[in-house]
Amino acid sequence: MKEVLAVIRMEMINKTKEALLAEGFTSLNCRKVLGRGKKKVDVAIIESIVNGVEISSPVVAQALSEVHRLVPKRLLSLIVKDDEVKKVIDTIIEVNSKGKAGDGKIFVMPVGDVVRVRTGETGELAI
C-alpha cells in the first residue's frame, strides 16, 4: 500500500476529483494548505489579480500579508494499492498539468498498515 500526496492548485480540485472518480478512486482526503515552491512568487501578479477581481478571501489576504509569500494550495492524500499508484499519478498529472511552474508536486510514500474502524479489518481489505 502506498500513500499518494499531491499538492495542486486550488481551482483544480473539482476537476481532479472528477477525474479520479472516473478512474475508480472514490476515497480521498483533501485540505487547504499554504506553501511555496522553488521559484519566487511574483507578488505584483498576485496583487493585480486580487485587486482586479476584488477578491477579499481571507486565505489570499493571509498569504499576501506574510513576509515569505505562501500560496494557497490543496493537499490531496490517497491511500491505494501498490499496482494502482501509476494510474493515480498519471490521472493527477494529466488533469493538473498546464506546463507552468506552480502546478504542484506529487509524493509517493509507503504505508505500514491500514485499519477500517467500523469492522477492524486490516491490510488491503481495509482500503
Partner: protein, 108 residues
C-alpha cells in the same frame, strides 16, 4: 528522499520559514493543526486545554539534506536557550517517488 514533518509553535513559523529560505530550502508546505503532547496539554489557571494550536511544516528533501534542515528547524523553533515544553516535534518518513506536475518529471 525524505518527508520532514515539523510541528512547531505558530509564532516561530516566520523565523523558521525565512531561515529555511536563506539556507536554500524554499519549497515548503504549511498547515494549521491542533494537538497535544506528552504533557497532555496546558493548564492555565483552572482551565485545562488539551488541544493546542500549532503549525505543521512539510517538506520533502534529499537524504543528505535531512540533517541540515532538522538542525535549522530545531535551532530556530526553540524557545530560549534551553527550549521549553511545547516547542514541537519533527518526524521524518521515507518518500519513494516525487513528480513535478507541470512537466510530469520524476524527481524533486
Amino acid at each position: 528522499m525524505l518527508l520532514i514533518r515539523a510541528i512547531i509553535r505558530p509564532e516561530k513559523m516566520g523565523v523558521v520559514l525565512s531561515e529555511l529560505c536563506d539556507a536554500g530550502f524554499p519549497a515548503v508546505t504549511k498547515m494549521d493543526v491542533m494537538g497535544r503532547g506528552k504533557q497532555r496539554g496546558v493548564k492555565v489557571g483552572e482551565v485545562f486545554y488539551d488541544e493546542i494550536p500549532k503549525e505543521m511544516l512539510m517538506m520533502v528533501v534529499k537524504d543528505e539534506e535531512k540533517d541540515d534542515v532538522i538542525k535549522l528547524i530545531v535551532k530556530n523553533a526553540k524557545t530560549g536557550e534551553k527550549g521549553a515544553f511545547g516547542d514541537g516535534k519533527i518526524f521524518v518518513s521515507p518518500v519513494e517517488e516525487a513528480y513535478t506536475i507541470s512537466s510530469g518529471e520524476n524527481g524533486l
